[in-house]
């Protein structure tokens, strides 16, 4: 048994001590104040660390989470800190370890199960849906399942068809699950902590390409008690001409598109969904009632996607406010190709978002050409 050095950290104190390694202090050129930045990777790592420290029932399980320090280094350092009983390396048997995780949650522990990517969650999907999501309902409240399934979701770079699918729509369809989709470091910290503390099964969809990106984080975000509410979207950029709803990596693309559009006189409001289930319909609808136009953006397959649900919701709740049909930008309706040029065509680009916004604003000439 490895000797375990347990850090005696009060869960609500000393954020600076917890996160020293994760913070890069950046000196601003113009001002003497400093802004703290944090990568999404460090945000997730610190969130796991703090929640494991605060509650001895929280444990991690997955492939390479321990000795390898995490396939994407998200769980780096946690084995040394908490020991092999709480950071459990598994064989490559998703159905088995997802089931074991759910069983442990039935008993009252709080497992955080990592899928190396969510593509492998399909091997365990019966446990996520039938053993976890539905149990509280079928047992009329006797068997609750405080489990988190986390890992990278969606397209990476050049990993091909079997390693690039986005599962937000599939999991988002299931009552009994909560599905979260962080974008920034703040999202990653706040939503993962909320997920671990939540008494219900949570599917936590990260993005591999975001792990290395840095985002500014305030002192509030760095505090170990920081938590974001589940089911509330964030308005990343306010605007008045069109609403863009999106999540995960596409938030960054939508913000870039909004900059380009601003230079062309279109003010886009960018909503970072943060939560696929529950979906923040009230924020979305309030925004559409303000802007009267909607473009949904996602990386996943278009049919029965997240955008389809958002469009339906807006048509049901705010039809009278729409000045244009809802536009959808999504991944291509094809398995993900490998060749770089084809891959680029298979995922949304900033140009696609700009074009769709212009269509929604009746500013595009191509509409006339196809008529």
């Amino acid at each position: 048994m490895l000797g375990v050095i347990r850090r005696r950290v009060a869960c609500k104190g000393n954020p600076a001590l917890n996160l020293e390694q994760g913070i890069r202090v950046i000196a601003s050129r113009a001002f003497s104040s400093t802004a703290k930045e944090m990568t999404v990777r460090d945000a997730l790592n610190s969130a796991l660390d703090e929640e494991m420290s605060a509650d001895p029932k929280v444990f991690l399980m997955g492939e390479e989470v321990g000795e390898y320090q995490g396939a994407y280094k998200i769980t780096k350092g946690l084995l040394d800190k908490y020991g092999p009983e709480r950071v459990v390396d598994t064989p490559i048997t998703e159905a088995g370890f997802a089931g074991i995780g759910v069983g442990a949650a039935y008993y009252g522990l709080r497992p955080v199960i990592e899928f190396m990517t969510f593509n492998f969650s399909m091997q365990a999907i019966d446990h996520i849906i039938n053993s976890a999501a539905k149990s509280n309902y079928m047992s009329a409240g006797q068997i609750s399942v405080p489990i988190v399934f986390r890992g990278p979701n969606g397209a990476a770079a050049g990993v091909g068809a079997q390693h690039s699918q986005c599962y937000a729509a599939w999991f988002g369809a299931c009552p009994g699950l909560k599905v979260l989709v962080p974008y920034s470091a703040e999202d990653a910290r706040g939503l993962l902590k909320a997920a671990i503390r939540d008494p219900d099964p949570v599917v936590f969809l990260e993005n591999e390409l975001l792990y290395g990106e840095s985002f500014p984080v305030s002192a509030e975000v760095l505090d170990s008690s920081f938590c974001l509410p589940i089911g509330k979207a964030k308005i990343e950029r306010e605007g008045k001409d069109v609403t863009i709803t999106t999540f995960s990596k596409m938030v960054g693309y939508a913000l870039q598109a909004a900059e380009i559009l601003a230079n062309e006189g279109i003010s886009a409001e960018v909503i970072n969904l943060r939560s696929i289930r529950p979906l923040d319909r009230s924020t979305i609808n309030a925004s559409v009632r303000k802007t009267n136009r909607l473009v949904t953006v996602e990386e996943g397959f278009p049919q029965h996607g997240v955008g389809a649900e958002i469009c339906a919701s807006v048509v049901e709740e705010s039809f009278g406010y729409l000045d244009a049909p809802v536009e959808r930008i999504s991944g291509a309706d094809v398995p993900m190709p490998y060749a770089a040029n084809l891959e680029r065509l298979a995922v949304p680009q900033v140009d696609d978002i700009v074009r769709a916004v212009k269509r929604a604003c009746y500013r595009s000439s191509s509409l006339a050409a196809t008529a």
Binding site: G99, G103, Y106, S144, P175
Partner: protein
Amino acid sequence: MAQLTHRTSSLLKPLSFALSSTRHLSSTTPITVETSLPFTGHNIEPPSRSVETTPQELIKFFRDMALMRRMEIASDSLYKAKLIRGFCHLYDGQEAVAVGMESAITRKDCIITAYRDHCLFLGRGGTLVEAFAELMGRKEGCSKGKGGSMHFYKKEGGFYGGHGIVGAQVPLGCGLAFAQKYSKDENVTFAMYGDGAANQGQLFEALNMAALWDLPAILVCENNHYGMGTAEWRAAKSPAYYKRGDYVPGLKVDGMDAFAVKQACKFAKEHALKNGPIILEMDTYRYHGHSMSDPGSTYRTRDEISGVRQERDPVERIRKLVLAHDLATEKELKDTEKEIRKEVDDAIAKAKESPLPDPSELFTNIYVKGYGVESYGADRKELRAVLP
């Protein structure tokens, strides 16, 4: 978490008759019983065939099994009367497994099984009314009518269901064992499955991890020789399920003999706490078909079924033992059975009085914490609810 009213198990009701003072045995005098067959071990020395019991336990075994038997027969009638809908998988014939296991363990040990769960539920402290009401989809049911036959639970009694997906309960059971070890509880989990589920990949995945991590998991194969309509020899290249764990030791047990089951479970519990997982194969038999939709006679002969009933019926075995040890007369046992019949009938009547759940229950228990989000009925403009 829902607070279910704790009801004393009907199985713990006082004995229906006083042991006659002319009998030479007090209710706690130890009696030694031989199991019908020796145990067969795989990579392990099997336990002895001599099992310690008492008159009290013998009588209790009879009563408990007769009650389970009666409950299942009554459920058959209720299903045919269309008061039970959907799936109904009956356990009659297999009672010795439930009763023998229960006698070897405590309520802090966990049991998890698949959908043939009515009798195991009773053994864990569930009541007849809770069972019948659940079968009929009423609000007094153990899952408030929202689960049905395949989804009985009794967490406070260590019973974790009640699962509809064949094989899923085995990794779940290993997860319970993981949690018991993590919590340093010194208890074990019995993860039960059938000969049909014994070929499931996830079982071997979970068993591998249980063995790697020395989890206190006991995998119990209730081999009733038919996975739905498929006989074991058509489904398994090796139907010696107690050997299928390979590096995990196993024991083959006569599942129609409650004392063999008791001995095996006691042995397994001691083993699992010290050495990790072990497999128990209970050689048992179900009189009914796979479910109420299956007559059970297209893939096996009526002679086979009646043969087992003649030679190996678990309730009859105990009746003979009780009579042989002079613990009760035939008439007393018949009276007990009459009382049980009445108890079951009364429970059915009471369950019938229970109303269907309130329509608002459609939207309860989706989440423990709903954050005030909305859920919808078929027509969301007509029916929607805010989840607490």
